[in-house]
């Protein structure tokens, strides 16, 4: 029994907007299961009384001042765009637009 079965791979792929073939689903199921099993070793560590870690650096309060810095400019910004429409990125039509943060 694999740790991450085909159904879970399909779910994760869907959430990641990835289109996988059945062969790939099998392949990733195996790989992800191996990774999962490896990471599971961590469960052997006794974590009683240890605070959960929010960040691995142990450094806090890193800020910058609210000072304007030069942006790239329209041309550089769009230089890697697969497609552009004047100064806009051009993307496949967004149908059910639930964008907005």
């Amino acid at each position: 029994m694999k740790k991450i079965d085909a159904e879970q791979v399909r779910k994760v792929a869907k959430l990641s907007r990835l289109d996988l073939t059945d062969a790939e689903v099998q392949e990733f199921s195996g790989q992800l299961s191996a990774i999962f099993k490896y990471v599971e070793k961590m469960n052997e560590v006794d974590t009683d009384g240890v605070e959960p870690l929010a960040h691995c650096l142990g450094v806090n309060n890193c800020f910058r001042d609210d000072v304007v810095r030069q942006s790239l400019g329209v041309e550089k910004t769009l230089a890697n765009a697969p497609e552009r429409d004047d100064e806009f990125f051009k993307v496949p039509k967004i149908l059910d637009d639930n964008s907005g943060a």
């Binding site: 869907k14 304007v68 942006s71 496949p92 964008s99 943060a101």
Partner: protein, 489 residues
């Protein structure tokens, strides 16, 4: 229709743009209405190797808002990645806060009918980044502008404590006043600085049993009018749906709706499957923030008297009407100008009349505040005193105030130059009254005979005296003299 009672239940999510010079995690300028994609850098684009660093001012602004909303400010707060799959945030995630927001458990007081303010509990407030802007063209593609991507965004979530469209609106308006008072956001609805998402359902009591209708969330409302209208529409729609289908709230019954402004209705939006699986995890790029007592105290020092407190104080201390107090406290700078004039000795009600009528009329036309009209606080206090003392009448006060906006002269001098000082000297006015009475025997007769014509005749005589004095007589004094004369003959 069966006998039923219902209660409206609304919770609100509000997004507020913070008024910083730069974005949340990079130094790109925040600018509205600029050339598309002209305020973009590797951080905005999510390019490999780009490292976002937090804007200190944006964080402090958020904490200030949290304090104004009576929230507990976390001693330790961190940022998380939230899965996001639209091209207006090219990283494919939004930097947000999940389990350790910077503030929780607060409340906001809103004005409602009656003498007491109503408390709306705040669940949490956290700090995140806004997305860019997608434009759907007529062609088979969409346009993306990333200028807005990364704008500091304060998200405030309330408990479901509002019980009508009007209360939801009052909450939104109050929050706008607060963020403007604090100077942390322009709160300009036209520019999308505030966006609202109400969660609405009904608690229906029917035949002694209570039912809850499925919750509807209305997305992305950006005007107070649409906010109130959408809530009111949902109430009717959900009642109707319950009566027709009996549908009640169950796991997964929540729907997302949009507001169709032209049709004045909410419209069901197509749901993405598993849309709520955002797969949050701690963002390794952003370091946590530890809040010290000292730092928090420093931020607390930047709080000011909040608008509703001010408004209620104006009513209690200055005897102003709720309406006038609301108008004066609409903008902090206007309220503070009013307070300075009162401090300089102006009677509050007179000062209020001058400022809310002529003052705001001109200020609104010029799109500026009361303090930018060129009026000196001391002179305004003097002007109010002149009206209070009967030296000038109210319309002369407006006239003098207009003049004060364009000249350095004091109100007394202007009043004399424009001949607006009222004659209140009884001896002087008596002569005018005598003359008018002598010239208008018929009217005098009518007054003395009483009856229907008496009142009109009295008014006519007063008018004649005012005319004779070129409108400079104090009508109250003239009235007194008239009364005496008409009685004693």
């Amino acid at each position: 229709m069966a006998d039923l009672e219902y209660k409206v239940i609304v919770g609100l999510e509000i997004h507020v743009h913070l008024r910083t010079a730069t974005k949340m995690f990079c130094g790109c300028e925040l600018a509205y209405g600029q050339q598309a994609n002209s305020r973009v850098c590797p951080v905005c684009l999510g390019l490999p190797g780009a490292l976002p660093v937090m804007n200190k001012k944006a964080f402090e602004y958020s904490v200030l808002a949290g304090l104004a909303l009576n929230c507990e400010i976390a001693k330790f707060t961190k940022w998380d990645r939230k899965g996001y799959y639209y091209p207006d945030l090219p990283k494919n995630y939004q930097i947000s806060q999940y389990d350790l927001p910077f503030s929780e458990h607060g409340y906001i007081e809103i004005p409602v009918e009656g003498p007491q303010a109503k408390k709306i509990r705040i669940t949490r407030a956290h700090l995140e980044e806004d997305a860019g802007k997608n434009t759907h063209t007529s062609g088979n593609y969409s346009q993306v502008d990333l200028n807005r991507a990364g704008t500091p965004l304060l998200e405030i979530v309330t408990e479901p404590d509002m019980n009508s469209g009007a209360e939801v609106r009052a909450m939104a308006v109050e929050l706008q006043r607060i963020v403007r008072y604090l100077g942390i956001s322009e709160g300009d609805m036209q520019k999308g600085h505030m966006r609202f998402e109400p969660n609405i359902n009904l608690a229906i009591t029917k035949d002694g049993k209570e039912y809850r209708t499925p919750i509807a969330e209305i997305k992305n409302l950006n005007s107070f009018r649409a906010l109130e209208a959408s809530v009111n529409y949902e109430v009717v729609r959900q009642l109707d749906e319950f009566e027709r289908t009996g549908k009640v709230m169950v796991e997964g019954s929540k729907t997302t709706r949009g507001w169709d402004d032209a049709g004045r209705q909410t419209v069901l939006q197509r749901e993405k499957e598993e849309a709520s699986d955002y797969r949050y995890f701690p963002d390794p790029d952003i370091l946590p923030v530890v809040m010290t007592d000292e730092w928090l105290g420093e931020i607390r020092g930047r709080l000011c008297e909040l608008p509703l407190k001010k408004q209620m104080r104006y009513v209690a201390d200055y005897n102003l009407s709720e309406y006038d107090a609301g108008v004066l406290t609409g903008e902090r700078a206007n309220a503070e100008f009013f307070e300075r004039v009162v401090e300089a000795g102006g009677e509050p009600k007179r000062v209020c009349n001058l400022l809310t009528q002529m003052g705001l009329k001109v200020a609104n036309a010029r799109d500026c505040g009361l303090a930018e009209l060129g009026l000196k606080e001391n002179d305004m206090a003097k002007l109010a005193k002149m009206i209070e003392g009967g030296d000038i009448n109210a319309s002369a006060g407006d006239r003098i105030m207009q003049e004060m906006m364009v000249s350095d002269k004091g109100p007394g001098k202007i009043a004399r130059e424009l001949n607006l000082i009222q004659k209140s000297d009884a001896g002087e006015l008596e002569a005018f009254v005598e003359a008018v009475l002598a010239e208008n025997e018929k009217a005098v007769e009518d007054v003395r005979n009483g009856g229907k014509k008496s009142k009109a005749a009295r008014g006519f005589l007063l008018g004649q005296v005012m005319q004779k004095t070129k409108g400079q007589a104090n009508p109250q004094v003239v009235n007194q003299i008239l009364q005496e004369k008409l009685k004693s003959k």
